[in-house]
Symmetry: C2
Subunit: 192 residues, 2 copies
């Protein structure tokens, strides 16, 4: 716990994912962080300032997380890419469920409070660039077209699994079918 400020923000992210935006108050964060009442209020005087900082912290953590993955991952086939994306999806809806819920809560809130969008725009562009790079080395001839398609599908499949969880659901088939279909199709082709 080097920085007390980051301790508070991480506790806030946990509260956000576990109990929702409505429970995100100064005192709740103090309790969750195991710090005396008033700590959050000292660092973030208003609720708006608090939420801005939470989003900034979350975006930074997300960038770091994807960057760590990016340096390790080099899928050379669509199949490998699909497998990696499946593992990511299972992690997001499983062990990191709370963190992922916080992510979607932030996204929805950004739809209402435009001031939150700057951080998300930066992170989104970065993650999108990695996505496109993976698609390129996995064999896509048009990563700029395929990247957003797969990323948006990935976003949707995870949200669906968060909102209406099905323990028996296996995302691998859906993701594999999408990745192979999209990568193999050529943009110039026209349907019969």
């Amino acid at each position: 716990m080097a920085n007390r400020r980051e301790t508070l923000l991480d506790a806030a992210i946990a509260v956000l994912g576990e109990r929702g935006i409505h429970a995100l108050t100064h005192r709740t964060i103090d309790t969750a962080a195991g710090l005396p009442t008033g700590s959050t209020s000292n660092h973030f005087r208003t609720r708006d300032a608090l939420f801005d900082a939470v989003v900034e912290r979350f975006a930074a953590r997300e960038r770091a997380n994807w960057e760590e993955i990016a340096v390790r991952m080099h899928p050379t086939t669509p199949r490998e890419l699909a497998h990696a994306l499946t593992v990511f999806a299972q992690t997001a809806t499983g062990p990191q469920r709370t963190l992922t819920l916080a992510r979607y809560a932030i996204l929805v809130e950004a739809g209402i409070r435009p001031s939150l969008r700057a951080q998300l725009t930066v992170t989104g562009a970065r993650v999108n660039a990695w996505f496109m790079n993976w698609l390129r080395i996995a064999g896509s001839t048009d990563p700029e077209r395929d990247g957003p398609i797969i990323m948006n599908h990935w976003t949707g499949i995870i949200l669906h699994q968060l909102a209406i969880p099905d323990p028996a659901f296996d995302p691998s088939e859906q993701i594999s079918a999408l990745v192979t279909s999209v990568i193999r199709s050529r943009p110039a082709e026209a349907p019969a």
Copy 2:
């Protein structure tokens, strides 16, 4: 305004989409509905009961909305299907932006409060069935595989456009590329 209860719930959905979950209180809804203070509290004693009712109302409206579309729409080609989905996406992020934001706020909340999931499960299954039917008549050989893929992508592309709006963004290319790629691909095929 036949039913006062439904008036209140529709006002609640509007508040949810315009100001977020945190602003969804009994008194806020009273004000938004133009009714005297206490009206919401009379119909929904606790906040949980209120939110349950909001979700139920929203799910019912969503079913009715899709059903109305379903009886009119008969896409006979992937291109027609893609065009229709594009129009839906533009409507969801444009004229119906507030309503769509409410939808995603509810989905996120359902990830935290399992009691909300029943209504969403019913509506999701219904919409999914229509999606698969459209895919079938548009030429898909495996609607049960393609339906969830396209619906999840649709969910993701809209959430992204809500959270980080780009006025210049045109979803038609992405949706067309996805729909044609997925429908044309055959499940039995294996990559080289």
